[in-house]
């Protein structure tokens, strides 16, 4: 036993308490740990009924249970050496928890690989996760690409990203030598590309997260500003007749960017010379100069929370916001009617060409709009019928595409073009409605609250990934976390002040992180795994190299547009 001295350090690991109370509800069953808890799985044939009330376990099964318990003490938890192989412990459909006293209780839990979620729930979760703030930029994107081109690009991008997502989902299956059940996509990257893969996937993941957080900050300042303005105007009964180009009817649509160069952006231009109160308000409530800073006081404390599980309860707000946006857009379209004219190559005063060369801006936005590749594996893990994974994924992508198309087409088509030019469609289409519009006010409030609850979650994810990989600890100290949060918040504030164009931010960060996760990694990993299995054919190689080139082109061209 003398070698225990050196090795005892390895044994001082917090262990799972195998003692249970008779009463299945007390059992803490961490499903992610299922493989190492195999001893609790017993074939139903081993449950022997002694009397009708309590079922006992057969001696053979309890001996195996004891054996596995004991073996697990002999190695480190990470060491797979003495973990029972599949042919020794069959994985039954049902799970029994075995009490050392010999009786067995059946649990309503699930075995590894089988989730609780029906297909519908899985599809909804994928849809919900993908629906982000990029939905606000889709109409602008269609405008930039031209109506026809825009629709075609949306559908094609949807298909392309769906294929790449399919590759991500199938990537684990190509690895046969190692147990990949707990792996996420960055682990697969690490397997193929070593630590370069790990670090680069971390980097790109962070790019997408921080890009999203900057967009959120810009949008939140925007919505907060408009909400404040609405409330102020409502209280003081001000009719906000800005000298902004607007339609003169009951459904006003404004064109904020068509201003005189004299007047600064985002400020209300009318102020009553005698009314210093309003002047004061304009001075202290400015979209780009002051409101972003007010947000710091609200959000920085929230970012420092250790565990954001409180915020994940508000997940439903996201769905509600998107549904409300759909409703809003439908209502506006009904009221405003359709204004479409088709000019194929030359733009007119009010309309844009159908085919424009700025369509890469739309592809940049869409790369982020269809991005779910870094967490799709986890989402699909909980699907009850794993064989339907691909089908459910495709349905989810189809629904997302339809949603984007719906909102994009309706906003674009119903934009009142005779008085206003289609070019006026803003990167955040809610900006096209004045702050006095009640419907959009409600939309802004919803989105504001939703973003305030998602922002700490994103911060937590960024923190976990960055600090976890650099320092090994998710929460090394309050100072590390504070510095990280200050950097992120600072970036958001700076962007809000100087470059509040969410369309731009979305397309740059989308193209950048999409390059890795959507285009390069899935294709490259597929090519490599085929090559290792010697199944690589020329058509497949060319097709996937083409995808990689598309991704690169997507990124590069963002800088030229």
């Amino acid at each position: 036993m003398a070698n225990m001295d050196g090795d005892s350090r390895h044994l001082l690991i917090p262990e799972v308490n195998h003692e249970i109370n008779p009463g299945p509800m007390n059992i803490q069953f961490d499903s992610s740990d299922l493989r190492s808890k195999r001893p609790f799985h017993i074939e139903p044939t081993n449950i022997v009924s002694v009397n009708d009330v309590i079922q006992r376990v057969s001696d053979h099964a309890s001996a195996l249970n004891k054996r596995i318990h004991y073996y697990s003490r002999l190695t480190a938890p990470a060491d797979k050496a003495l973990i029972a192989p599949d042919h020794v412990v069959p994985a039954p459909e049902e799970c029994y928890v075995y009490s050392p006293l010999g009786s067995a209780y059946k649990l309503q839990s699930y075995t590894e690989g089988y989730g609780k979620n029906t297909s519908l729930v899985t599809i909804f979760m994928i849809w919900n996760t993908m629906m982000g703030t990029s939905i606000l930029s889709i109409p602008w994107g269609i405008k930039q690409a031209g109506f026809t081109t825009g629709i075609c690009v949306i559908m094609l991008m949807g298909l392309l990203t769906l294929y790449c997502c399919y590759r991500v989902v199938k990537s684990r299956a190509m690895i046969s030598s190692v147990d990949t059940t707990t792996w996420e996509y960055p682990d697969v990257c690490r397997y193929y590309f070593g630590s370069f893969g790990q670090w680069s996937s971390l980097l790109f993941s962070l790019v997408s997260l921080i890009g999203a957080m900057i967009v959120y900050w810009v949008l939140m300042s925007n919505f907060l500003f408009n909400t404040g303005k609405f409330i102020f105007n409502f209280i003081h009964h001000i009719n906000d007749t800005d000298a902004i180009l607007s339609t003169n009817d009951s459904n006003p649509v404004i064109c904020p960017s068509a201003r005189n160069s004299d007047h600064p952006d985002n400020d209300s231009m009318i102020f009553y010379a005698n009314d210093t109160e309003i002047h004061q308000f304009e001075k202290w409530w400015n979209k780009s100069k002051t409101v972003p800073f007010y947000l710091i006081g609200l959000l920085l404390p929230l970012l420092n929370f250790k565990s954001p599980s409180f915020f994940s309860k508000f997940n439903i707000l996201g769905t509600v916001s998107v549904l409300y946006l759909i409703f809003l857009v439908t209502l506006k379209a009904i009221r405003l009617g359709f204004h479409l004219e088709f000019h194929w190559f030359m733009p007119t005063e009010f309309f844009v060409a159908e085919i424009r060369f700025q369509f890469p801006q739309l592809t940049g936005v869409l790369t982020l709009a269809f991005f779910i590749h870094n967490c799709i594996i986890t989402l699909l893990k909980n699907n009850k019928n794993q064989e339907n994974n691909v089908r459910d994924l495709s349905i989810a992508y189809m629904l997302v595409t339809l949603t984007y198309l719906y909102i994009g087409i309706l906003v674009f088509a119903s934009f009142p073009s005779p008085p206003l030019s289609k070019d006026c469609i803003e990167q955040n289409f809610l900006d096209n409605f004045p702050s006095s519009d009640i419907l959009s006010f409600i939309a802004r409030i919803f989105l504001l609250f939703q973003m305030m609850t998602v922002y700490p979650l994103l911060g937590y994810l960024a923190r976990v990934q960055l600090l976890g990989h650099i320092f090994g600890d998710v929460y090394p100290s309050i100072f590390h976390v504070l510095i990280l949060n200050l950097v992120i918040v600072g970036a958001g504030v700076i962007m809000s002040c100087f470059y509040p164009n969410i369309g731009g931010i979305i397309r740059y960060s989308g193209a950048a992180c999409g390059l890795a996760f959507v285009f390069i990694y899935p294709s490259l990993i597929y090519i490599i795994s085929l090559y290792q299995e010697e199944r690589l054919t020329w058509p497949k190689l060319i097709f996937h190299v083409f995808i990689i080139i598309l991704g690169l082109a997507n990124l590069i061209i963002q800088f030229f547009m």
Partner: protein, 374 residues
């Protein structure tokens, strides 16, 4: 605990494989220092690399599996420098740390059982040329004073010819250096064979091995760490190593009847393998020996985390009372009483008195024959 102290002493004294067998060197172990004591007798656990010896040793002896062979490499460096082995040793340890489990167990035998039988683990016929050279150059020392040779065969091995070849060369060495050694062959990893084929395949192997081992006699077992066969095989091995086992069993039976116990078990101290037992009632569970052994070994592991050592245990409920206690210097006893009205003190006094008797039993036999007495 005395065991660990003496093991620590052994650690310090084991400066390398013995080149010249020291005669008359004090054991430094617990118990008696006998003037004519020969050097420690060995149990060789041999087999191809990857056949499962390390796992087996871990499981039987409740040792934490040493996966970090880098550490092993460093201590071997220290130990072998004195033998002026060339510096290719450093490459050996580097190759190892990539993740292949190669056990290079020179005198890492902290595991003793049945008195001072020392367990040595050797990879035989591995891929490592350095290992092979070392093995052949130290052959005589390795195979001297061997009490037991346990050779492990991987049933899934694709190189049957090679395995047999290495086995035979080991047998030759045994014939030269320790012709009295007992030979056991374990056909391991039987769980990888389909159930209906297991008997057939084992019979085939057994015949081959018996044939190859002549003139030496070997006993064959089929084992797998995932069922009870491993425990049973090792228990049988230990059973065969005890010379006066029949007498022991008779005495145990008398003891059990006197104290009116349901069952009395005698365990080997280090491994909790059942040496002998007596039961006066039919017991339901055929796997109980292994289960108890695993439970106690697991408990010992937990105790060692707290730097404590396990000595005795009493388990009691309305149906039975069980006592596990140190018995003789190499054994533990477990007494199961189903009459709860008998007070614990009575049983404990009985055990204490029996202890003296059994120790006398051990001392009766001469030092050369009796394994239990070192």
């Amino acid at each position: 605990m005395e065991e660990s102290d003496s093991e620590k002493k052994m650690e310090k004294e084991n400066l390398g494989p013995r080149m010249d067998p020291p005669i008359g060197e004090p054991e430094g172990s617990l118990g008696w220092v006998l003037p004519n004591t020969a050097m420690k007798k060995k149990v060789l656990l041999m087999g191809k690399s990857g056949s499962g010896k390390t796992s087996m040793r871990s499981i039987i002896f409740a040792n934490y599996i040493a996966r970090d062979t880098r550490r092993l490499g460093a201590t071997i460096l220290d130990r072998l420098h004195s033998l002026q082995i060339n510096s290719s040793l450093s490459t050996y340890s580097l190759v190892d740390s990539v993740g292949n489990t190669k056990t290079f167990d020179v005198e890492h035998s902290h595991v003793r059982f049945l008195g001072n039988l020392v367990l040595n683990l050797w990879d035989c016929g591995g891929q490592d040329t350095f290992m092979e050279n070392y093995f052949t150059s130290q052959r005589d020392n390795i195979f001297r004073n061997v009490e037991v040779l346990i050779y492990v065969f991987d049933v899934e091995s694709r190189e049957l010819e090679k395995d047999m070849h290495y086995y035979q060369s080991c047998l030759e060495a045994i014939l030269q250096n320790s012709p009295d050694a007992k030979i056991f062959c374990l056909v391991h990893k039987m769980d990888l064979v389909q159930e209906d084929q297991r008997d057939l395949i084992f019979k085939e192997r057994e015949e081959d091995l018996r044939r190859l081992s002549r003139p030496l006699e070997c006993s064959c077992f089929r084992t797998s760490i995932w069922d009870e066969t491993l425990y049973k095989a090792w228990s049988s091995i230990v059973y065969q190593l005890i010379p006066n086992v029949q007498q022991l069993e008779m005495n145990l039976r008398n003891f059990a009847e006197i104290i009116e116990a349901d069952e009395v078990l005698l365990f080997e101290r280090a491994t909790f393998l059942v040496i002998s037992h007596y039961q006066c009632k039919e017991q339901r569970d055929a796997h109980r020996f292994e289960k108890i052994s695993n439970i106690i070994k697991q408990f010992k592991l937990s105790c060692s985390k707290l730097a404590a050592s396990f000595q005795s245990m009493e388990v009691r409920n309305s149906n039975f009372a069980a006592f596990i206690d140190i018995f003789t210097s190499n054994t533990y006893v477990m007494v199961v009483m189903s009459d709860p009205s008998i007070p614990s003190a009575a049983t404990l006094i009985n055990i204490r008195n029996a202890r003296k008797h059994f120790e006398k039993l051990e001392r009766v036999d001469g030092p050369k024959q009796c394994l239990l007495m070192r």
